[in-house]
């Protein structure tokens, strides 16, 4: 629990608690989950806080039930969230696909731990970068965010809920074991209600209502169950009204919609931290907990007047292709530290091709990558 300090709103807070607090600030009023290390604090805190504000917490029988329950809750009108880690995230994939095709807003928090399988439950990992994007069967883009501090866990938790409601999809908020469990002093910003996004409700009569209408910006109003708009929701490919269809033209429209509502809004979705990249000849590309070490290494290189910068995606998916192309124009080499076997490295190579040199640092032992290791790689590049 957060300890009050002298300054107003300044608290010592854990990463997982920040996610829970962010969810509450964003208006989450339904949480269904299943215990799994290292994510349990999110559920524990929300089980205490939600009933106080008239919200609902339920511990389900497994992760499959948890994702199902939050989708049901969302259809009934709630802002919904669940939190899990590797094995539970795998179990949730079918439900995540269902949330995507039915365009039902919800947030899945995945506090990453070592894998595969039960793996290293109490150690950090970044090996679900690809699962977060490609985990469900079938093509459907994902919105995936990944903070690197306790304060940012709070902020991106709010943002995840906002984006889920705005784009009617399942948003995945990544964290990792260290980020989730570490404590930092944070000044919690005042909640600005103008920055909390509410679902657009239909203003047309029920008989005109289409659950998946064609709209210019691929964003559409959504009625809740019980609102008087009786509609059908199915995981089958459906027409604009939500009824199953086998017609190629209708299937094409709906599948394109899932894609376009992401690609049309890249400017809104993509967030990166650009640290000392303006004149950088060497870049470090890192996300989440690893970027903390990366920044330290960049800082230390800058002290020696080396032209080194860091680019950090806060939005992992959609991948920030254009930003990378733009910011890497004068970069000769990139150091890519990550707690996996090159999941982001592959994406960078896809974007930048062989124009630059790559220096991967990969660890899957459950240990973090240190600033020294990154500094050593930077030194290696300069040779």
């Amino acid at each position: 629990m957060a300890k009050k300090q002298t300054k107003k709103n300044v608290v010592l807070m854990q990463g997982n608690e920040a996610i829970a607090r962010g969810a509450l600030a964003a208006g989450v009023n339904f949480f269904a989950g299943y215990p799994i290390t290292p994510s349990t604090e999110v559920a524990e805190i929300l089980s205490v806080e939600l009933p106080k504000i008239g919200g609902t917490f339920i511990q389900m029988e497994d992760e499959i039930a948890s994702i199902a329950a939050i989708i049901g809750g969302s259809l009934a009108g709630a802002k919904s969230m669940t939190a899990t880690s590797g094995p539970g995230f795998s179990l949730m994939q079918e439900g995540i696909g269902f949330a995507k095709i039915t365009e039902t807003p919800c947030v899945v928090v995945n506090v990453m731990r070592g894998g595969p399988s039960t793996g290293l439950p109490t150690k950090p990992s970044q090996a679900d970068i690809m699962q977060a994007r490609w985990g469900n069967h079938g093509d459907a883009p994902a919105i995936v965010l990944y903070p690197n501090s306790v304060l940012e866990s709070y902020e991106l938790s709010i943002r995840a809920v906002n984006l889920a409601e705005k784009y009617r999809t399942c948003v995945i908020l990544l964290s990792d074991e260290v980020l989730g469990h570490m404590r930092e002093t944070v000044e919690i910003p005042e909640i600005d209600n103008n920055k909390i996004i509410e679902r657009i409700k239909p203003t047309i009569p029920p008989e005109w209502y289409k659950h998946y209408p064609e709209t210019a910006k691929y964003r559409s109003p959504m009625a809740s169950f019980g609102d008087g708009y009786r509609y059908h929701v199915t995981g089958l490919t459906h027409d604009a009204k939500g009824f199953p269809t086998n017609r190629a033209d209708e299937a094409e429209i709906q599948n394109a919609r899932l894609k376009k509502k992401i690609t049309y809004h890249l400017d809104d979705l993509i967030q990166v931290e650009d640290y000392e990249m303006d004149d950088a000849r060497i870049a470090v590309f890192a996300a989440g907990i690893t970027s903390r070490a990366a920044k330290e290494a960049v800082r230390s290189a800058r002290r020696k007047s080396r032209k080194v910068g860091m680019l950090r995606p806060l939005t992992i998916w959609p991948f920030p292709d254009e930003v990378i192309r733009e910011r890497f124009k004068n970069v000769k080499a990139v150091v890519v530290p990550e707690l996996n076997e090159g999941q982001m490295l592959g994406e960078l190579k896809r974007v930048l091709g062989n124009k630059i040199k790559y220096y991967p640092i990969q660890k899957t032992s459950g240990e973090l990558i240190t600033p020294d290791e990154i500094s050593a790689a930077i030194k290696e590049v300069r040779k």
Binding site: A32, I71, G72, G226, H232, V233
Partner: protein
């Protein structure tokens, strides 16, 4: 027969949903009719009705009715329905599921929803087979029966879904058959009225797949079989053991009162609110 037809049409969706996907002789339509008539008799608003299903033949039902309808993932209708009920307890939430959907892939969810005693009405249409995928054996396929994955006869013992639900803590458990359509309607109505987890197993017929594989005759032969084997529970209990073997009890098997889950959660919320003037 004119009047019930009109009642049904008030609740069916029009347009391209029909013709429906069910085979000739299938019991699903009878169960749909029973549900609709029960809802009509109770005077529930369509807006307050949610029908949730999983995957399978019976799970195609929601698309045809003018409720808030949700056709979900295989086995997962109950947790989806749980989410709706927790968020909007005032809604009448009904789950339509099959034997495989509810007791194989979804067995875990069935027992835990029963344990919580959450106010859902689960209607299990038990046709003893996976019909939609072409006739593979389910947990209720009789031992020895033929399915497309038990060509040599089914080795598995069967689940008694009613006993399973009772053991898990369901507070309303009933069995009826598609033959006893009027009874089915009355039981489904009582299940809706029951405050807590209710489950109704409707023994049904799949003449096109199960019936054909097991030489059960025509759809009407299969209906006659339900009439012969489904015995009112009081009479069934009096039968000597050897006569019970090929019969099953029907009617309301469990009907008890226990605190309902969403009600208890509402009380919890209430208890956590600061007293008025208690600043």
């Amino acid at each position: 027969m004119k009047i019930p037809q009109k009642r049904i049409h008030k609740f069916l969706r029009h347009g391209k949903k029909f013709p429906h996907v069910w085979c000739p002789g299938c019991s699903n339509g009878i169960v749909l009719g029973a549900i609709i008539r029960a809802v009509d008799e109770l005077g529930y608003e369509k807006d307050d009705m949610a029908m949730v299903s999983g995957i399978g033949c019976s799970s195609r039902m929601p698309v045809y009715v003018d409720f808030n309808t949700l056709h979900t993932l295989h086995g997962r209708a109950i947790p989806f329905a749980t989410g709706i009920k927790m968020v909007k307890p005032r809604m009448n939430v009904c789950v339509v599921t099959g034997d495989g959907d509810s007791s194989a892939i979804g067995g875990n969810h069935l027992i835990h929803a029963a344990r919580r005693n959450i106010d859902l009405t689960v209607i299990v249409i038990n046709n003893n087979i996976y019909g939609m995928t072409g006739g593979q054996y389910s947990p209720t396929t009789p031992t020895g029966a033929i399915a497309t994955t038990t060509r040599y006869g089914n080795l598995d013992p069967v689940f008694d879904i009613c006993k399973l639900a009772e053991g898990a803590g369901a507070t309303f458990v009933a069995r009826t058959t598609a033959y006893h359509a009027v009874e089915a309607q009355s039981i489904i109505k009582q299940a809706f009225e029951h405050k807590g987890f209710s489950i109704v197993e409707v023994v049904s017929a799949c003449p096109v797949i199960y019936g054909r594989l097991n030489k059960q005759g025509s759809p009407s032969d299969m209906m006659r079989d339900m009439k012969k084997r489904g015995i009112p529970v009081a009479a069934y209990n009096k039968l000597p053991e050897e006569e019970k073997a090929d019969k099953y009890p029907r009617g309301i098997l469990v009907n008890i009162k226990k605190p309902e889950y969403t009600q208890r959660y509402a009380e919890l919320i209430q208890s956590l609110q600061p007293e008025k003037g208690d600043e």
